[in-house]
């Protein structure tokens, strides 16, 4: 096969015989999309859906920040504020960030990276999308018919006694959980059984390792969330007596059950982000990844440890002191594999020939932001410190540094990295970089202020506050505008590229993983022939390497 040193257009060159999956003549029209079992199309459908959810959740966030500009009530009552922050959390967690990387990018890229024609169970994959949409519509209905003011954590006994559409929302999350389980089952089976001939476990790209570890969590943790929410809904409807102390139940048990899922779920969110970074850093450093096995195993280690640390969300909730000490100790274990990853990424960049294209700019942002998020996590894992910082803006800032500074930035890195592969177009590099830089600074202005006021004692989830915190709140709100501007520029740059003709080469970044070996965008069956593993995913030391495009 010829290398593609010149841009391949859709109508010319080597690939003329193969129409891309976007406009396969055998699969045309809306129905062909709605009934597709092609992992690439399902991935794109997920991509547009999660981006819509991101926009919705982001607008809620902007509204919250605007309300917090002054210490007094401006345009939201306390009740409205409670509902809006619940919706921001629930939409961002369940509709955006959990499916974002695995279901949207992972669906598209994972089979290509393995040299497979599709995921193991294509129909289950499509079912997962429709289950997701069903859950999303239920969530939207819950929002429109009364809203939820419990926070995204649905803590009992408040959630069993408050009005609103809590029952519908729990069923919605129950349904969304199944979509996540289906994706997880699919990915585990795909990685086990559909690798290209010659591709062993240690030839897998690290993105695959990360998504694999994520899929394990999705399969093993999500069912417990399902049963927890079912119990919660029944407690609300029938007073069955498990979570409500008034009925003989134990509200802390709800928190145990909830966090048994939701703490691993935090790693469902961050592991795929780390996985993307593990692809981008060697590609743009033009160096073999440093510590391949350490990164691969640390993904699995994070997945396993994530199941035994959930109690650190409950240090002030009435769990026993013994349990709190045990959970605090176990929590520190997470720092080890996370630290291993950061060190290996930095070591990969060391003396590499670094190209600061947009994906790499996002990846470097990730390194900085995730490290801050991770280190503040160690503070919070320390039992005594957490008693002071619990339920303050310090927590809010910490998880936004991990979830947004980590996962969302990595998601944006991945979108910019694989955009040419997904849509066959290059975007405007200058404007994309400007967007990235605005996102980075906007994010830090927003959330560094929250660290500061959290440490000073500003509690989370209040619509009004003492005057002394106003300086930080103004800074945070202005930061949110910069952040939003950066995100809109990034979205505009990417969408604008769709109006162009196909101009992306097969391998614009000179990557070594398999998805770049097929044309951009790929044909319906991914590869003209069944591919065979010829070289490792990070063999940048091979002599034939050169930067294309």
């Amino acid at each position: 096969m010829a290398t593609t040193s010149t841009p391949v257009t859709h109508h010319g060159g080597h690939h003329a015989a193969h129409a891309s999956f976007l406009e396969d003549p055998q699969h045309r029209g809306l129905m062909s999309w709605l009934t597709t079992v092609d992992h690439k199309r399902i991935g794109l459908m997920y991509l547009w859906s999660v981006l819509t959810a991101f926009l919705l959740g982001g607008l809620f966030a902007l509204a919250l920040r605007l309300e917090l500009l002054t210490p007094k009530e401006d345009f939201m009552t306390a009740e409205t504020y409670n509902k809006v922050f619940t919706l921001h959390g629930a939409v961002m967690v369940f509709l955006f960030i959990i499916p974002a990387i695995p279901a949207a990018l992972g669906n598209f890229v994972l089979p290509l990276m393995l040299g497979a024609k599709d995921v193991a169970f294509p129909r289950l994959n499509l079912a997962s999308y429709y289950v997701y949409m069903t859950g999303a519509i239920m969530a939207l209905t819950a929002i429109l018919t009364g809203g939820i003011d419990t926070g995204w954590t649905f803590y009992t006994p408040y959630s069993t006694t408050t009005g609103g559409a809590v029952t519908l929302m729990t069923f919605s999350v129950f349904v969304l959980g199944f979509s996540s389980i289906f994706t997880g089952i699919n990915f585990v089976a795909t990685v086990h059984k559909l690798r290209a001939p010659g591709m062993g476990w240690f030839d897998l790209p690290l993105f695959v390792w990360g998504t694999y570890a994520t899929a394990i969590i999705q399969v093993l943790a999500t069912p417990v969330l399902a049963i927890t929410l079912l119990l919660l809904a029944f407690e609300r409807m029938f007073q069955i007596g498990i979570f409500d102390a008034k009925l003989g139940g134990d509200p802390v048990l709800f928190q145990h059950f909830f966090w048994f899922y939701s703490h691993p779920a935090v790693y469902i969110m961050i592991l795929p982000g780390m996985a993307i970074i593990s692809e981008i850093i060697p590609t743009f450093s033009k160096k073999h990844i440093f510590g391949y096995r350490a990164i691969a195993f640390s993904s699995v280690a994070i997945a396993l440890i994530s199941f035994i640390v959930w109690g650190h969300h409950m240090f002030t909730s009435g769990q026993s002191q013994l349990a709190a000490v045990i959970f605090s100790f176990l929590t520190f274990l997470v720092a080890i594999p996370s630290g291993i990853k950061v060190f290996n990424w930095v070591a990969t960049m060391y003396r590499g020939s670094i190209a600061l294209d947009t994906p790499m700019l996002y990846a470097i942002s990730f390194l900085l932001l995730f490290t801050i998020g991770g280190l503040t996590g160690i503070f919070l894992g320390a039992l005594s410190v957490d008693i002071h910082l619990h339920d303050t803006y310090f927590i809010v800032a910490h998880f936004h540094y991990v979830m947004m500074g980590g996962t969302v930035i990595a998601f944006l890195a991945g979108v910019h990295y694989w955009w040419p592969k997904m849509f066959g177009r290059m975007y405007n590099e200058t404007w994309a970089r400007i967007g990235c830089i605005l996102v980075f600074f906007g994010f830090n202005i927003t959330f560094l202020n929250q660290f500061a006021m959290g440490a000073k004692g500003m509690p989370r989830r209040y619509y009004s506050y003492l005057d002394q915190f106003q300086g930080n709140h103004i800074g945070s709100t202005v930061g949110s505008w910069v952040l939003a501007l950066g995100l809109f520029i990034a979205a505009g740059v990417l969408l604008a590229s769709l109006r162009k003709k196909y101009d992306a080469p097969d391998n614009p970044w000179g990557s070594k993983t398999m998805e770049w070996e097929t044309q951009s965008p790929p044909i319906t069956h991914n590869f003209p022939n069944n591919p065979v593993m010829q070289h490792g995913p990070y063999d940048y030391n091979a002599p034939s390497v050169r930067r294309e495009a």
């Binding site: 024609k117 294509p122 001939p197 399969v219 943790a221 069912p223 049963i227 007073q239 070996e517 590869f527």
Partner: protein, 228 residues
């Protein structure tokens, strides 16, 4: 740059040329054995999710039982051990007929396959009928979950036991119904002659699901009926 996209050994044709393959082979698999193993792996992953979902209920049951041992002990005496034991035997037999069905498909015994699928359905139906009598008895006595509990001589907190009883057996029963649907589908396909030694994946997968339903009951029976 050296290319990944060389033809795989044993695969000399293009992506859209599968004419001479087994019609049950999906396009993204190279061979039937790979497809079978993948399907089985997927089924086991699904079973793992089922175990964790039921497991959450078991953990909740265990913790509440430890909290209110007298109430649970008193409450479990309202359950009919004979009916529970009968249902245990019925489900064990259905598991046996199901594994025979898998074996029959694997070894190409079509009549044995059809007979055993039918017998499994009969057992599943029997289980549900027994369950129906148990339920209607409980409903009549007011031994119901949560706020619906109105048994005249009710002890404190007995309703929590019945909350768990109905949730656990209800969730289990819904799996029995799902399984019956799947077995009916197998039966129709078996009568059409779809299965044989070369292709019996659906029989095997439904079999696994059905054994899991049995497995859960193996724990439910002593915990609910015998220990309380």
């Amino acid at each position: 740059m050296s290319s990944h996209t060389l033809p795989a050994p044993g695969d000399t044709h293009g992506h859209d040329d599968h004419g001479h393959h087994d019609p049950n082979l999906q396009h993204h698999f190279v061979e039937m054995a790979q497809q079978f193993d993948t399907a089985k792996l997927g089924m086991w992953l699904f079973l793992a999710t089922e175990i964790l979902m039921f497991g959450g209920l078991f953990v909740g049951f265990g913790l509440q039982q430890a909290k209110f041992p007298e109430a649970f002990k008193a409450a479990h005496h309202h359950l009919d051990r004979t009916m529970g034991a009968l249902n245990t035997v019925v489900l064990l037999i259905s598991s046996f007929t199901m594994v025979l069905a898998v074996w029959a498909a694997q070894t190409g015994r079509r009549k044995v396959l059809i007979t055993n699928l039918a017998l499994t359905l009969v057992c599943a139906g029997t289980f549900l009928v027994v369950k129906y009598f148990e339920y209607s008895h409980k409903i009549h006595d007011g031994l119901l979950p949560g706020k619906f509990f109105h048994y005249a001589q009710g002890q404190p907190n007995e309703y929590i036991f019945f909350s768990f009883y109905f949730m656990m057996t209800g969730l289990h029963g819904s799996h029995v119904i799902l399984g019956m649907g799947a077995i009916t589908w197998l039966l129709i396909r078996a009568i059409k002659g779809d299965f044989g030694p070369g292709y019996y994946t659906p029989v095997d997968l439904v079999g696994l699901f059905w054994h899991l339903v049995d497995l859960i009951w193996i724990y439910l029976f002593p915990l609910l009926y015998l220990i309380g």
